[in-house]
Each structure stands twice: as C-alpha cells, then as structure tokens.
Amino acid sequence: MLDYRVLPAGDTALVVEFGDRIDRTLSAAVLALAQALDAAHIAGIVETVPTFRSLMIHYEPLVLSATALTARVEEHVQKLRARDVAGRVWHLPVCYDRRVAIDLDDVARRTSLTPQQVVERHCAPLYHVYMLGFLPGQAYMGDVAAELALERLATPRTSIPAGSLAIAGRMACVFPLETPCGWHVIGRCPIPLWDRARAAALLAPADQVMFVPVSAREYDTLQTRAAEGVLRVEPVSETAGAVA
C-alpha cells in the first residue's frame, strides 16, 4: 500500500501527495493515479495536474464534495499499479554545437569534463517526463547525470531562444518559447515542443525522451522544415510500465 496524504488547495482542488522528493517511484504513482482518475470519468472532477510527487485534482465542490472525492481517491490508490502508466517514447534531435550551446564550455569547465564528454553524458539516458509546467509544452525531464547537475547561473539571462535545452539541476528542460532563463543552456532542439498553430504540446507527463545529437547543418534543415510546418514528428513507440 502506497503512503500518501490528501491536502486541500482551497475549496476547488485537492493535492494527493505521495512524498516530498523527486523520485521515479513517486512519479509513477502520481501518473498512474492521474490516468486511473481520467479513465474513471468521475463527475465533478474538472482536471488533474501531475507534478513530481503529487497530483492536483481540480473539482467542482457543489457536485463532488471533498470527502466524496477523497474516498474515490482512496479507492483508486488501493488498486494502483504503477506498471500500467502509459507513455510514448520520443527521439528528439538536439544540436549541441557551440553556436547554440552557449554554456557548453562553461558546463565542461564546471564539471571538469571535455565538451564532448558533457554531450555524451547528457544524451546517454532515456529521460522520463515527470511533468509539464512554467510554459505551455515545457517538460521537466529527468534525470540528468549527477555529475552534470548544475544550479542556476549567478545572473539569469533576460532571454533565450525557443528550443533552448538547459540543465536545471537534475532536470533537462527544452524551453518551447523565448523566455528569461537562469539555467545553463547546452543545446537547442529544432522540434517545436509547443505547436502554436495547433495549440498543442508535443510531450505529455509519463512520456520518455532520448536526445539524439545532430550537426549544426542538420539542425538548420530541421528547423527550416519545422518553421514551414512540414516537419512531422511521431513517437518511436508507446510504452507501459517503464517509469519506475
């Protein structure tokens, strides 16, 4: 039986908290509960928002009371099988060329690695999408190798281009829009993670991502095709159960 607690976030949302750390097992529980509640189509639940270690459930209290919702949560947590979390696997091209990887040399210096080693270690893992937040379509993907985990820059940049890939502690983040950013930027992804025309995010919580290094020339080609709207991006496969 999973340990969890239910906390009120005002009168129209509850937080189901499985722990207080970033952890694949906790994430699997959060995502499994989100998927179970979505599948159950419970009247009164407005939306669910998974984060690293908790699930926020927005509800209409005049349809479904907090007590009744808590009972439904209890029922679903009892039979949670984290193994059943469904996600997709993506291969995302990333250009680690210095032209766009503005902090690559700095990261290499700080980690006592060569830039080549930084890139190799950064693109080695199959990343897990814990959650989306901060900007539309922005995924928090983990985990970045411990030796590459860096804290914020002393002075944040006022603007980085859309597609910038940064190391944010143990998380890899691709910023879907131009944004201020305080993290180390080590590459750029030509695939739009937020499709403005369709108002759709490419990634979803529980997806898995492999970063595939591409040359600056390949990046330019892909980026041009993306800008023309002719770049089709499909997941490599569907998964179930590889989260934890």
Partner: protein, 347 residues
C-alpha cells in the same frame, strides 16, 4: 467593411479575457481569464452576451478607442471610472457616463476612459463579442504563453479588434442596480496545502496580520507587504501544482497570492488558499489596498460558493431599463436636473 473597435490608446494594460482556459494545466497552460469574473459577467449581461463571451479587461487606466461599425452596444462594469463618450476620435471632450450600464455608439464615436478607482479592473463588453478565434476553447489572453485574445498580447495603439456583430440590436439601454463591487478587507482562506511548513504562531500571525497590496502585483500574482511569515525549515519545496488563490510564502516571508495568469507549478510553500467565492473580489483589489485573511472550513467555503453562484444567477434580475431611452444629452440633462420641460421622449 468589417465592424471593429480601433484602439487609439491601450491604457496601462488592456487584454481580451473570458472565464479562462480550463483542462490544459497538465500541459503547462495557465487558466487565465478575467481577474474579476463577477464584474466581467455583469458587463456581458448588460449587452445580452453569454456569460463567458470575450470582453476587454482594463487595469488601472482604461483605453481609448473608436467605433468602426454601423453602430455598437458597449457596457462597462468594474471599478469607478470616468467614461467619456466622444463624437469623434479627435474631440477634446464629450459626455461622461459611469460604469454598470450599456450605451449605444454610432460609427466614428469614440470612448475615452481615464484612471480606474476603487478597484483594479474595468470590463468593457461589446454586444456579440469580438470576432477572435478561441485557442483551446478560450479567447483569454495568455501573455506568457502568447496565446488567445488579440495575438496573445495586451492591446496596442492601432489594433483593430473585429466585432462579431455589424450593428447593435434594437433595444433600450440598461443599467445594473444594487451591485456592490467595492472590494472587502477580509478574504477567507482554507489553510494549506503546505501550512505544516509554518509553526502555529506563524499561521496565527498570518491570520491576524494586515497586508498592503504592493506595486509589484500583476495578473500573475498579488504581492503583499506586511509582517513577514517565517518558515519552519526552509522555503524550497519540490515544485507542485498551483491553484488561483494560492498564498505562497517565498524566502522574504512576504506572501504572494497567485492570480489568474499564475504559472501552473511552483516551488514555494503555500500557507493557505483564498476560497473560490472570494477570488472575484481579490481580483479587483487594487495596489495600495489593505487586506487580511480569515481561515474557514471547506463547508463554509462551499456555502460561500453557493452564495456567489446565486449572485451570478441574479445579475440579469437586477438589470433595469434606462427609461427614457438615453440620448446621451438627455442623460446628462437628467443628471444635471435640467430636464424639466425640455425633454421630448421621441427625440
């Protein structure tokens, strides 16, 4: 020729809003929508719009615009503002009307709105709404995500907002009576979700303290100044989801109440959450206002929510026809008590 409102001056920050973009927060999309959904719905009701039709939200200082349509019916609701109706865009002055009423304007007439007092926001609804494409089911402007509204941004001089209707319907103008939009001083909260990050004495201090809305506030969050709240043990939590009304306490100890445009997730402990029924009043609370928090139970919050829904359902019952029909001159004369003997109802 497309019916439109052309912006002569955008005011401080004027955006198209509605009741928000729900069910997309898991993809990082903010809910957004009107800061004060009660005044917003009042403006729409005054022009027979559906409650959720897109309307303009002006903050602190209103816009000026000219009507480029055969005619258009507008309504204003929210904070106090002098709303000047000008005969044309170049007119030096015109007739002044108060909010909480509708007005019919013909082509070429312009509206000039000055500073908004006793409230942060003023809503301007136009009969039929704006002809803008909803994004994810909403026309609310999300300035951070750059979606919705007018090109995903606040209005600028020269923007020409297309209207869904070419002309106003034939009907009398209306006024909404008995509607108190003065912001209260006390806001009800449910403690949590991270109230356990604060000692009991700090929670007491939070509930007893008086706070001032600081100038650093915006549509994302209301920054408060008052007695700082100390954390029991640090102020960084593992990021989790945020709801509108979340009261987060960053390292400074000065609370920030998250408003409509808040990010979907955040990493500061949230000591309490303003109840849903008090969010409209919170949204209209202006910079400089004094406020405090009172904890309530979920049952009390549900009762307050029921009461709010009753108020919203009753808006249309409180709309009264302006009679006689308001030729603006006649209205002015009425206000000046000069009407006797000179007014012709057929004029």
């Amino acid at each position: 020729m497309t019916a439109a409102l052309r912006i002569l001056s955008p005011g401080l920050s004027t955006t198209i809003q509605d009741l928000g973009r729900h069910r997309f927060q898991r993809w990082g999309v903010s809910v957004g929508g009107a800061l004060d959904p009660v005044a917003f719905q009042a403006a729409n009701a005054l022009v027979d719009n559906p409650a959720s039709a897109g309307a303009l939200e002006a903050m602190y200082c209103g816009p000026s615009f000219v009507v480029e349509a055969d005619d258009a019916r507008l309504a204003f609701a929210g904070g106090d503002a002098a709303i000047e109706i000008l005969d044309n865009a170049d007119a030096a002055s015109g007739e002044t009307i108060a909010p909480m009423r509708s007005v019919r304007l013909r082509r070429g007439q312009a509206v000039r709105i000055g500073s908004i007092r006793n409230g942060a926001t003023l809503y301007i609804a136009v009969q039929g709404g704006f002809a803008v494409e909803p994004v994810l089911g909403s026309v609310a402007t999300d300035s951070r995500g750059r979606i919705g509204g007018w090109h995903g941004r606040a209005l600028r001089e020269g923007d020409t907002l297309p209207l869904a209707r070419a002309a106003a319907s034939e009907r009398d103008e209306c006024r909404l009576d008995g509607f108190d939009l003065a912001p209260p001083r006390r806001f009800r909260v449910v403690l949590g979700p991270q109230s356990d990050w604060f000692a009991a004495a700090e929670i007491e201090r939070f509930c007893a303290g008086e706070y001032t809305v600081s100038a650093g506030s915006n549509r994302m969050g209301m920054r408060l100044e008052g007695a700082p709240i100390r954390h029991r043990d640090g102020f960084n939590i593992v990021s989790d989801a945020i709801v509108t009304g979340s009261v987060q306490v960053p390292g400074s100890g000065q609370p920030i109440v998250l408003l409509a445009d808040h990010q979907t997730t955040g990493g500061y402990p949230k000591i309490a959450t303003v109840i849903s029924a008090d969010l409209p009043a919170l949204g209209r609370l202006p910079v400089g206002a004094k406020m405090s928090f009172t904890p309530v139970t979920l049952e009390q919050a549900a009762a307050a929510r029921r009461a709010l829904f009753a108020v919203l359902a009753g808006i249309r019952d409180n709309i009264v026809r302006l009679s006689p029909p308001p030729s603006l001159v006649a209205t002015r004369l009425l206000e000046c008590n000069l009407i006797s003997g000179v007014y012709d109802a057929a004029a």
